[in-house]
Symmetry: C2
Subunit: 336 residues, 2 copies
């Protein structure tokens, strides 16, 4: 590892995050579950399969259009379970709070978590609170972990991705990143952009009911759709080709990106997933997704090519084509 | 809630922590699992019982005699599962790292976590890393969550505590608190006091094999043995009477406490549990515990009285007797 210190980019979900995992964590935590490099570990309990996942949330600001750190923390872990085929059974919540944090804000966050959990059909069954002196943390950080029950008869893994697969995204990309950026920087845009923070387990249930042949799903968070697709291409050793023109982007998100010189492909989502399936199943899955509120803007955006391997290729709107590398880090720190 | 801001004491495992749970978390997260107020939630998966627990670690300093934040984070969650009868199946680890944190220190912590997990017979199967800008966190915080398999045929719950029960502690109390205090304050004592940070699942396995009649166990962490016994007395509505003279305390820990004017009863442990069982089983359990390295100083320290309720009574070494209230907070912030 060439870095002697942790950089912001090590937490950004991009290239340096991957390096940290493969060079620092995996050598010590080596086990079959972590090495799958999926969003959840799948373990066996009796004759059941359960998945297990965790995420910490350090988003700044804590409250933003469309959500807050509490709902985000619930949706994030619910979604990590969902894309592994897990129906959320229960969640834990660990709070690290800075001394002096307003009690009213904590209550708001707790209420928001409870509501988000209820909407996702689950509940928070274990918790912990640590308080650190003023200056030792910035307000409030939350960790959630979750257990999901996997009943899908098919197999969901990046290793299932095959040449010819269709690539589907469940809706507009970059909403969460744009929402946080606009809120944080007080950019003075006329209307607020709401985060897309949402629980995807309902949508996933609809998808997995249509066919047992979905190959792999991931939710696009840090690093956006571009980061997860580049990562999936690299991990599966396939060449993923996507068409920029077909990727759904809200008009206002596109506007913010143009002003700030950002690419919505790499802007964080918090309620969107990418899915790989055999081309023959794509239309049926797309139709099912469009019937769900969190999939109504779902779109077929690409395919897995027959040749080459390990790369994400973007066919640009102007007709060119380029390799998309995994971004080094996240465009903005503390996006989630 | 009379406080408008979070105080350090809200994270101290004492009275204000309890208030926070009952007045802020429980009203929103109301469910049968949290309301049990045990160290883990026990849920059913197929025909198996599993327990689920989480804790965050913000200890300062990160490295101390007898351990570091990594081993502490593994032991803490393993112990929360163990005292609920759970054999640890797997753990998750969530890191919040401050930009600029030394990579070497992170590697040391990760190695320590992997070793601690292996010693406890489990592994870390899911993880997450967030990096926050300099000044937004102090170095490194870790959250662990864990899943345990409960195979104990008896029932472990504070509600099982009965008049006549014996109270056993698994060893010397206050070691961890004294270790952190000495290290942090550079008090200049001649010899270092090692933390008792240790995984208790092996000891618990030995205990639960001897009898299905153990009523309740808790590990003594923040607030020390005094805090958990006062809490258990209050939650069970019984009067717990303990004899100060019989509570094992290391000589050096007693020395530090005398110098600093602290009571070892309220100093944090990280590898000790308190256990309630029928008086008739106490000798057999004690014998079994003494045969295990983490139980060799186990001692019978009290009983549950026939009358009164909800109080912890301390029979002092000098012959008096007093009610021990749940401490307001922890004696030292960032003890774990």
């Amino acid at each position: 590892m060439k870095y002697t210190e942790i950089l912001l980019e090590h937490g950004g979900g991009g290239l340096l995050s991957n390096e940290l995992v493969t060079e620092v964590f995996l050598p010590h935590f080596r086990n079959a579950f972590l090495e799958r490099l999926e969003d959840s570990a799948v373990i066996t309990v009796g004759d059941k399969k359960v998945c297990f996942s965790t995420d910490s949330y350090v988003v700044d600001p804590l409250f933003f259009p469309g959500g807050d750190i509490g709902s985000l923390a619930v949706h994030g872990t619910v979604n990590d379970l969902a894309v592994c085929g897990g129906k959320p059974l229960c969640l834990s919540a660990g709070y690290i709070v800075e001394e002096g944090f307003p009690m009213e804000d904590l209550k708001k966050v707790v209420r928001s978590m409870a509501e988000a959990a209820a909407r996702a059909g689950t509940s928070i069954v274990a918790g912990d609170t640590k308080v650190v002196p003023r200056g030792a943390a910035d307000g409030l950080f939350i960790n959630t972990a979750g257990i999901g029950l996997v009943e899908y008869e098919g197999s969901l893994s990046v290793r299932n991705i095959r040449a010819g697969d269709a690539v589907i995204v469940s809706g507009t990309v970059g909403d969460h990143g744009a929402a946080i950026l606009c809120k944080r920087e007080e950019l003075g845009f006329k209307s607020e952009i709401p985060s897309d923070s949402a629980p995807l387990n309902g949508l996933v249930e609809v998808i997995l009911k249509t066919t047992p042949r979905v190959h792999c799903m991931r939710d696009a968070t840090r690093g956006g759709l571009g980061a997860i697709l580049a990562e999936m291409a690299s991990q599966s050793g396939t060449t993923v080709v996507i068409r920029e023109r077909d990727i759904p982007v809200r008009e206002d998100v596109r506007g913010v990106c143009e002003v700030l010189g950002l690419d919505p492909l790499f802007l964080a989502c918090e309620g969107k997933l990418a899915l790989f399936c055999p081309a023959d199943d794509a239309e049926m899955i797309l139709l099912a997704m469009k019937g769900h509120p969190f999939g109504k803007n779902a779109a077929l955006i690409g395919t897995v090519a027959e040749v080459g391997g390990g790369r994400l290729i973007l066919q640009t709107a102007v007709g060119g084509s380029r390799v998309v590398d995994l971004p080094v880090g996240e465009l903005v720190p503390r996006i989630c």
